[in-house]
Symmetry: C2
Subunit: 451 residues, 2 copies
């Protein structure tokens, strides 16, 4: 039999789903790479999803749903029966299941939770109490805790019984009767200690931990800097609620970087993956900034109207407007993006503002000199005469240096007043620099050309 292409397999799977041929579905679904399944599944109707659930089982489906964006996953779950959706959620890691349940509206949310096993539903309800962008919202509530008073033998016995839940356990957190964190030990220490010693005797008392209400970015940074694989997440009374894992850190870093990138590009961050976000969602995330920048930019019209006389007298001055303000915008964009990133990863702080300013003044002057020379050459080759060429070169120098300087302080100033530095986007700095750049241009022209 000849090898089918991925597209062919997907086509046949869709047919088999539509006509409910279970055996063929399970064979084809197993053949398709999971990334393909993840793309296909949000598009299936309720009937096809039901067939897929029947053919592949809740565990398989949970593995796929875990990889989806929570919003997409929630829209998929409501196409299953409540019992099926509950089965799938039970098979997912509780923190990911909670993210999906958090996207469900009432009464769907309550209906599905009611169908779940009591313990799993309780875990999810607890997680839903913390906003998704906090350590509490990120944590998984599944962890294995020992008591100080246990003997080593008792502890090993306990782990044996805990079974699969303790599958990925390396650190063993030690809690008191009230569930408050007392310390940490490791499976290795437990194994290598005599069976009659108590857990308390091999417990390390200093534990790096985070609070459930801590911002996810802060919590992720703490975990990375600690060098541990997981960190305990605590309630204000030190009760241990869950653990934060390396997986969570990766997700937080990726999410925060995505948000910064979207802001730097002059739009609000999307809350869903690009391809599944609605056209209306994309429009809403862009239009506000676009209109705000348009309004801010509108004064360039007034500036140019003010210099109407000069423009009419020396039409050639107009030739260089896009090039000059474009170069200013490009320089400013370079500076703000570098600084926003340096602030995000913690390399630059408020008190560095003077150092940043002087560095950018020097670099900006060097760049300004280079672009000034290029601008002179450009004006000369367009044949506008030495006077205008001189104006263009001088303006290029001033605009580039000015942009670098404005862009060097803007991100830190925004942070200082409590705004996200990433809103100092490329479009934002270009808007600021364009109008001021035009004023610089015509001021220089008036002096040099004696207008």
């Amino acid at each position: 039999m000849k090898q089918l292409s991925v597209d062919e397999v997907r086509g046949r799977l869709e047919d088999a789903l539509a006509s409910g041929r279970d055996a063929e579905v399970s064979r084809l679904a197993a053949e398709l790479p999971s990334t393909e399944i993840e793309r296909l599944i949000p598009e299936l109707d309720a009937r096809s999803l039901g067939v897929l659930f029947r053919a592949m089982g809740d565990e398989w489906l949970a593995g796929i749903v875990s990889e989806l964006d929570p919003g997409v996953a929630a829209r998929l779950l409501v196409r299953l029966t409540d019992v099926q959706a509950a089965d799938v959620l039970e098979e997912m890691p509780p923190d990911e299941a909670a993210d999906v349940v958090g996207e469900l509206r009432e009464p769907d949310r309550e209906d599905v939770l009611r169908e779940m096993e009591h313990e799993e539903a309780a875990d999810i309800r607890e997680l839903l109490e913390y906003p998704p962008e906090t350590a509490g919202g990120r944590m998984t509530p599944e962890f294995t805790a020992l008591r100080e008073s246990m003997s080593v033998d008792e502890a090993l016995q306990f782990l044996r019984k805990a079974g699969e839940a303790a599958d990925a356990v390396f650190y063993l957190y030690v809690t008191d009767v009230a569930g408050r964190l007392a310390g940490v030990t490791t499976l290795r220490d437990l194994v290598l200690s005599p069976g009659t010693r108590t857990v308390g005797e091999i417990t390390k008392r200093e534990v790096v931990s985070v609070q459930a209400a801590d911002d996810q970015e802060h919590a992720a940074r703490t975990l990375r800097e600690s060098g541990y694989l997981t960190l305990p997440v605590l309630a204000p009374d030190r009760r241990m609620l869950g653990i934060l894992t390396a997986d969570d850190v990766a997700e937080v870093i990726e999410e925060e970087a995505s948000e910064d990138i979207e802001r730097l590009g002059g739009s609000q961050p999307l809350e869903e993956p690009y391809l599944t976000a609605s056209v209306w969602h994309l429009f809403r995330k862009r239009i506000l900034w676009l209109l705000a920048l348009f309004a801010a930019h509108a004064y360039t019209g007034n500036v140019l109207k003010f210099y109407e006389g000069e423009m009419a007298t020396v039409v050639a001055l107009g030739f260089f407007i896009p090039l000059l303000i474009g170069s200013g915008g490009n320089t400013g964009t370079q500076v703000v993006t570098t600084l926003v990133r340096a602030i995000a990863v913690g390399e630059v702080q408020m008190r560095d503002i003077f150092r940043v300013f002087t560095r950018e003044l020097v670099v900006g002057s060097l760049l300004a000199g280079s672009i000034g020379v290029a601008a002179f050459v450009r004006a000369w080759t367009l044949g506008v005469g030495p006077g205008i060429a001189e104006v263009v070169a001088l303006t290029a120098f001033c605009i580039v240096a000015w942009s670098a300087v404005v862009a060097s302080v803007l991100p830190l100033v925004l942070k200082r007043v409590g705004l996200d530095p990433a809103v100092a986007s490329g479009p934002f700095i270009a808007t600021i620099v364009d109008g001021t750049g035009l004023i610089i241009y015509f001021s220089i022209a008036k002096v040099v050309l004696g207008l």
Copy 2:
């Protein structure tokens, strides 16, 4: 005694270092937060560094150096004696030590490696064979491997002896006599199995692994998708060389995001932290793109010169040039940044190009309509008359829609021809759109105003 501020403590520490008062140094250095030490230490001279090494010891210093950028750390190590530098490197995780040694020039590199313990130096030499951006360059070569033929009791005995090296062990990789990966088991399975069974009997044979030569981004993605805490890194003959950890994943994600952000901002990525990079380094990373964009942008001068007659006849047309091309650039920037990010995190692929195009055509038309209305209002309020206002509104509509469409295909096309989609930066798209936007503007003006 009153509480000293961080700045005061740092000042006193610098004094104590300069005058070599060891006892005071160790007291003050212990008091200062490690982030402060990380900022202070690259600025110390050889003498002060020597005092700090004497007072705090190699292990403490290794903890600080591990947090520094490898280039900065290397410049710091050469200010220590070779013996001191070797002591510090021995205390660091081998993969991080290798990154630092990789930044040393000969003969410093060889001098330091010679002073290190044989085994640690050999680890580093092996790591240096792989480029830093591969799985081999990222991995840590410290891992604990068992043999299939060992009994469970023998394996536990072996782990006991392995001591600290096996401290953070959860997965136990199983290799054959030639060191080739045979499978994996866990400490938990080992502990919970009868002592007389062999390791081979409790070994899981299917292991997700990566190749040492694999790109770090691919390797990090594999680890994340696998759901495991670590992955084995293999040579082409399946010999196990090291492990990739969650820590490495976090670093890779952060590094790749930083590179994308810098490229989107229209400059080449910095290879060092912003504050420690030289001014010359900053200049070099920016000037090439700035000049390239200037050259590409220069044709706007020709376009405007071509329409010199129209500009002289209707000077008011010039008032709206910055606003119109700015809006086009802003739209394009929004689209490319969103798409570049979606491509980077794997949400959008080449075969989605048609879907992306149609989505952006719809969203772009909606945005174009909104900005078109805003542009008409703006032109009207500037009092330029209905004819020009109509030209400005029509142009705004066309430029915004056109930018969205160009920006929707550009990132995927760049990826197709083997370039990084992130070079489709905001400045790049603005440059493309500015010239074409001007042609659109004056073409519409000629028709509507009958010029």
